[in-house]
C-alpha cells in the first residue's frame, strides 16, 4: 500500500493512544520514518503488521481495528492534501459513491502502483443503498464497512452498514440510512 495509509494509521494511533504507544508499534514492527512516506509503495505485509500491532495496543481484534481505521481514513483523507479531490468527487452519498470509480481512475493515472477497489451503487431507495465492492485484495470487509461509515460521517448522514451478500468475487454492502 502507499505510505499514506501508514501515515493515517500513525495519526489515528497518535490521536487515540499518544506517541509512546505508537513508538512501541514502530519498534514492534521495525517501522521508521522511511516507511511513512506517502508517495512510496510498501508491501501489504508491512501494512498488515502495522495494523495488527496497533490492534493489540487498542485492545481490539484486527477486524474491529480495521473498521475503526476505515472510518478514520475518510476523515484523514479529507483533512489532508487530498481533501479537494474528495470534495470534487461528491457532496452527497449517492453522488460520491457513483463517482468513486471515476476518481479512482485518475488516482491510478497519477499513482500507477495503486490497487484501487471498485464501488458500484446497484440499488438505491430513500433509506437503503446497496453498494457492490470489488477488489483484488481480500479480507478487508470490515475496513470497507468503516470506510462507508466514514463517508456517512463526512456527508452528514447517520445509519448502519452491513455486509449482505457475496456474489462471485464481489461483496455487497447495504447502507441503512436514518432518514425517517
Amino acid at each position: 500500500m502507499y505510505g499514506m495509509a501508514h501515515r493515517a494509521l500513525r495519526q489515528m494511533m497518535l490521536d487515540r493512544l499518544g506517541p509512546s504507544v505508537w513508538a512501541k508499534v514502530e519498534r514492534e514492527t521495525g517501522t521508521g520514518p522511511a516507511d511513512l512516506i506517502s508517495l512510496c509503495v510498501y508491501d501489504d505485509s508491512k501494512t498488515i503488521a502495522l495494523i495488527s500491532a496497533s490492534a493489540a495496543h487498542l485492545g481490539m481484534e484486527v477486524d474491529e481495528a480495521l473498521r475503526v481505521f476505515g472510518r478514520y481514513w475518510v476523515r484523514f483523507a479529507e483533512l489532508s492534501s487530498f481533501g479537494p479531490i474528495m470534495d470534487f468527487t461528491g457532496q452527497d452519498l449517492v453522488t460520491f459513491i457513483n463517482n468513486l470509480d471515476r476518481m479512482h481512475r485518475s488516482v491510478v493515472l497519477a499513482m500507477p502502483d495503486a490497487r484501487v477497489p471498485s464501488f458500484t451503487l446497484i440499488d438505491e431507495t430513500r433509506e437503503r443503498l446497496l453498494v457492490r465492492y470489488r477488489s483484488d485484495r481480500t479480507g478487508l470487509e470490515t475496513f470497507v464497512i468503516g470506510l462507508l461509515e466514514g463517508l456517512m460521517d463526512r456527508l452528514n448522514e447517520t445509519g448502519t452498514v452491513e455486509l449482505v451478500d457475496r456474489p462471485g468475487t464481489a461483496i455487497d454492502f447495504a447502507i441503512h440510512l436514518d432518514r425517517s
Partner: protein
C-alpha cells in the same frame, strides 16, 4: 433537415450536463442537471439573454447579442461559448434548432482553470467522456502529492532531529544506569567481602546481595526496553486463538485467486512471543508462498502439539512443542532453492530480495524454536515452525528461587564442555552449574585460552559467548569447527549476531541464559554425538 439520430432526455443529460432548451423567444424551457442546486438563476421561464452573454463579450464590445448569435450559429459546427453573468461559469458547446422552432444549446462546463479548489465543481458536473475530469483530478493529485512530499521531507528532518535528541537522552540515561550499576556492584562486593569474613552476618549479606541483584535485574529490563532489544512484556500467547482471530487479516496479504485455510489442533497451547511477532512471521511465510504461486492456489495453516522437536537430535522426552505447519499447492521450490534460502553465506536472492523464510527461521530460533522447510517439487512446499510451548502458567516462580538444575540425559560417558566467557563471574557460574549437573566443564576467559585448552584436551561441546574482546565467539566457533569437525557448537549472547555469519547447525542461546534452553541445547548436542558414535 432530416435528423441523423434521435436522442433521449437521459442521454442528453449524460452527454451535455449543462444543456439549455429555449423557445423561439429564447426563454428557457428545459435545462440539464448542472444547474440543480446551483445559484445561477437558470430556471424555466428565464430569459437567456439576461443570464448569459457570449463569452467574448468581456473583451469585445462588438460581439453580437444572443438573440442574433443563437439563430445564426444553429446547426453549424461552430463552437458556442457562454459566460454566466451571475457566477464565474463558462459553458461551451454547439447550437441545434428544434422542431418546435426553439433551440437546444448543447453545453458543457469549461473549467476556468484546471485547479479544483475554489471552483465549486464536482465530477458529476461533467459528462462521462469529458477529458476535463482526468485533467482536473490529475492536477489535483499532483498538487496533493507535492504537498505530501513537502510534508514527508519536513517529517524526515524532524525525525532526524528527534533521533539526535533521543541519542543525547539515551547517553544521559546510560550514564545514570552506569552510576546505579556501579553502586549496586559496590554493594555486592562489600557484602561478599563481609560474607568471606567469619564475623559477618551471612543472612544480612545474602539479603543485601539479593536486593542488589534484583535492582540490577530491573536496570537490565530498563535497558532492554530502552533499546527495544526484546519484548520483555510478552505474555504467553494462545497460538490457535491468535491465528484464528487474525485469519481474515492474513488473507488480506493474498490476491483474490488464493484461498487461505486454518486447521487449529493445538487447543490452548501458548508460546511466549508477542502477538505482532507471530502475525508478522506468518505474514512473511504467506508472502513467500504468494511469490511461489504465480497462478494462485490454496494455502493451509495448521497447528498441532508435538513431543518431537525440529530435528531428530533435539527430541527430548517431556519437551513440548507447538508446530505451525504451512503448506501450499503451488509449483513449489526445489531443493537447491531451499539450500540457497537457508545458506547463511547467500545474502539475498539473485533479484536482490531477501529470503522471508530465513528471517522466519531466525525468529523461531531466537525464542528457542526452529523452522524446517521441505521442498516438494511440483507439488508444493512444506514449512514447519517449531515453537516451545510456554509452561509459565504451570510454573509459579518461588519468591526465593533456587537455581534450576539442568535436566540432563544420562549417557554412557560424561559430556566434556569447553565454556568460553570473558565475564569471569558469569564463566564461573556457568561452569559450576554444569559441573553440579554432571558435565565436565572447562573454563576459558577468551578465544586464545579456548584454543589452548583444545590443544591440550578433547571436548564434545564448545559453549561460547559471542561478544568478546580480540576475537569473537563466532570467529572462535568457525576456527574450532574447522579443526575439530565433530565438536558441537553452542553460542550465547545478549544480542542476536548477524545470521549470515552463523552455521545453520549451530545452536544459539540468548542471555540472560534460560537454563532449560541450555539444557535443551546440550542434550541435543549430546544426542547428536551419541548418534554419530553409533554410526
Amino acid at each position: 433537415m432530416k435528423p441523423v439520430v434521435t436522442i433521449r432526455e437521459s442521454q442528453l443529460e449524460a452527454l451535455f450536463r449543462a444543456y439549455i432548451k429555449v423557445d423561439a423567444a429564447l426563454v428557457v424551457r428545459g435545462l440539464g442537471p448542472f444547474y440543480h442546486n446551483r445559484d445561477t438563476a437558470v430556471i424555466p421561464g428565464a430569459q437567456i439573454a439576461e443570464l448569459f452573454s457570449l463569452r467574448h463579450d468581456r473583451d469585445d464590445e462588438h460581439a453580437p447579442p444572443l438573440d442574433v448569435a443563437i439563430p445564426a450559429m444553429a446547426n453549424t459546427p461552430e463552437r458556442f461559448e457562454l459566460f454566466c453573468k451571475r457566477k464565474n461559469i463558462r459553458l461551451a458547446g454547439i447550437v441545434f434548432s428544434t422542431e418546435d422552432g426553439g433551440y437546444l444549446l448543447a453545453l458543457n462546463i469549461v473549467p476556468e482553470d484546471f485547479i479544483i479548489e475554489g471552483q465549486g465543481l464536482h465530477i458529476s458536473d461533467f459528462s462521462q467522456i469529458d477529458a476535463s475530469v482526468p485533467a482536473l483530478t490529475l492536477i489535483g493529485m499532483q498538487r496533493a502529492l507535492l504537498a505530501e512530499a513537502r510534508q514527508a521531507a519536513i517529517d524526515l528532518a524532524n525525525a532526524q532531529s528527534e533521533a539526535l535528541e533521543l541519542l543525547d537522552r539515551t547517553q544521559r540515561l546510560g550514564r545514570y544506569i552506569v552510576h546505579d550499576l556501579a553502586n549496586y556492584l559496590s554493594i555486592i562486593r562489600l557484602n561478599v567481602a563481609n560474607l568471606a569474613r567469619s564475623g559477618g552476618s551471612a543472612e544480612a549479606g545474602r539479603a543485601a546481595i539479593e536486593a542488589a541483584t534484583r535492582h540490577v535485574g530491573d536496570l537490565v529490563l530498563s535497558l532492554e526496553r530502552l533499546t527495544g532489544h526484546r519484548d520483555v512484556e510478552a505474555a504467553p500467547l494462545p497460538v490457535d486463538q491468535t491465528i484464528r482471530s487474525n485469519l481474515a487479516f492474513l488473507a488480506a496479504a493474498l490476491p483474490a485467486d488464493f484461498s487461505l485455510d486454518f486447521i487449529g489442533s493445538a487447543a490452548q497451547a501458548a508460546v511466549r512471543v508477542g502477538r505482532t511477532e507471530l502475525i508478522t512471521m506468518l505474514t512473511n511465510v504467506i508472502v513467500h508462498a504468494r511469490g511461489a504461486m504465480p497462478d494462485g492456489g490454496s494455502i493451509t495453516i495448521s497447528t498441532y502439539r508435538s513431543d518431537r522437536g525440529p530435528t531428530d537430535e533435539a527430541d527430548m522426552p517431556g519437551e513440548d512443542w507447538i508446530v505451525i505447519k504451512v503448506i501450499h499447492d503451488g509449483p513449489g521450490i526445489d531443493e537447491e532453492a531451499v539450500r540457497l534460502m537457508l545458506d547463511p553465506q547467500v545474502l539475498a536472492r539473485p533479484d536482490g530480495a531477501d529470503f522471508p523464510l530465513r528471517s522466519v527461521r531466525t525468529w523461531a530460533r531466537s525464542i528457542g524454536g526452529d523452522a524446517r522447510i521441505t521442498a516438494l517439487p511440483e507439488t508444493g512446499t512444506d514449512i514447519c515452525i517449531y515453537l516451545p510451548i510456554s509452561r509459565d502458567t504451570d510454573e509459579a516462580e518461588p519468591l526465593s528461587a533456587p537455581m534450576p538444575g539442568i535436566a540432563r540425559q544420562r549417557t554412557a560417558r560424561t559430556l566434556r564442555v569447553l565454556v568460553v566467557e570473558d565475564e569471569v563471574h558469569a564463566l564461573d557460574a556457568v561452569v559450576e552449574i554444569l559441573r553440579m549437573d554432571g558435565y565436565s566443564a572447562t573454563p576459558a576467559c577468551n578465544a586464545a585460552e579456548a584454543v589452548e585448552a583444545l590443544a591440550n584436551g578433547d571436548f564434545d561441546i564448545l559453549l561460547t559467548d559471542v561478544v568478546m574482546p580480540e576475537r569473537s565467539g563466532v570467529e572462535l566457533a568457525h576456527e574450532v569447527e574447522a579443526r575439530h569437525p565433530r565438536i558441537g557448537i553452542i553460542l550465547m549472547s545478549g544480542y542476536l549476531p548477524d545470521e549470515s555469519l552463523l552455521q545453520p547447525h549451530w545452536s544459539m542461546l540468548r542471555k540472560p541464559l534460560d537454563l532449560s534452553l541450555l539444557s535443551h541445547a546440550l542434550s541435543a548436542a549430546h544426542a547428536k554425538l551419541a548418534d554419530s558414535a553409533t554410526a
